[in-house]
């Protein structure tokens, strides 16, 4: 079945350093979504990418969708303590299902 792999599992950075998480699908995706879950909270939708090679930015966050639409990345420039949380990618398969990656937990040292 379809799988969505996400690496790394954890990343511990000094505040101000950059951070990247990578997402790889076993099959081509029609779109990919990214979510953020703060500690003790629930996943919150960040963004969706649809087009091959698409790049979208939200302030210090840059999202990319690969040319083959099988991989994606989220890059955070100059991390802040407010960026702490777990970042999930998710891709659709079959009619209504959304498969989530295992997530990357970001810890930021002040």
């Amino acid at each position: 079945g379809q799988q969505v792999m996400q690496i790394p599992q954890y990343q511990h950075v000094q505040e101000g350093e950059d951070f990247t998480t990578y997402c790889n699908s076993s099959t081509t995706l029609s779109n990919i979504q990214w979510y953020k879950q703060r500690p003790g909270g629930h996943p919150v939708f960040l963004i969706q990418l649809v087009k091959s090679g698409e790049v979208k930015k939200q302030k210090r966050l840059t999202f990319q969708f690969g040319e083959a639409k099988k991989n994606s990345s989220l890059h955070i420039t100059a991390t802040q303590t407010t960026d702490v949380g777990t970042y999930f990618c998710a891709g659709p398969y079959s009619s209504y299902k959304l498969i989530f990656g295992s997530g990357t937990r970001l810890l930021v040292r002040p």
Binding site: G41, F45, Q48, A90
Partner: protein, 114 residues
């Protein structure tokens, strides 16, 4: 803003009990989902419903059933709770049949089965 409300934040149940987890959304969303979240495993889909009285199994449906009698409410039922069902349960909803619709999650129910 979309509101997805899960009835309990924390639950402690005994092995063998029948457990009901309730989820209500206020945005007239057609699709509703139940996921469980475990460390290192991400979010795994248990069941989803694309409309009233319609349901489909997700990736890990064993030991669970669901009910969707009204559009706004989606219930997850653990027929006979077991310790390996100790987990965080997340309900989510979204609009229509579009694969592009984002999910809106509830705050989660942390279930402990002893």
């Amino acid at each position: 803003d979309v509101k997805v409300t899960q009835s309990s934040r924390y639950l402690v149940k005994r092995t063998g009990e029948k457990v009901f987890l309730e989820c209500v959304q206020d945005m007239d969303h057609e699709n509703m989902f139940w996921y469980r979240q475990d460390p290192g495993l991400g979010l795994r889909l248990i069941y989803f419903s694309y409309d009233v009285k319609m349901k489909e199994k997700g990736d890990i449906p064993e030991g669970y059933s669901v009910s969707r009698e009204k559009k706004e409410r989606f219930s997850l039922i653990l027929e006979s709770a077991s310790t390996n069902q100790t987990s965080m349960y997340l309900c989510a909803s979204r609009f229509g049949t579009g694969r592009n619709s984002p999910l809106h999650f509830g705050n989660g129910t942390r279930l402990t089965v002893t």
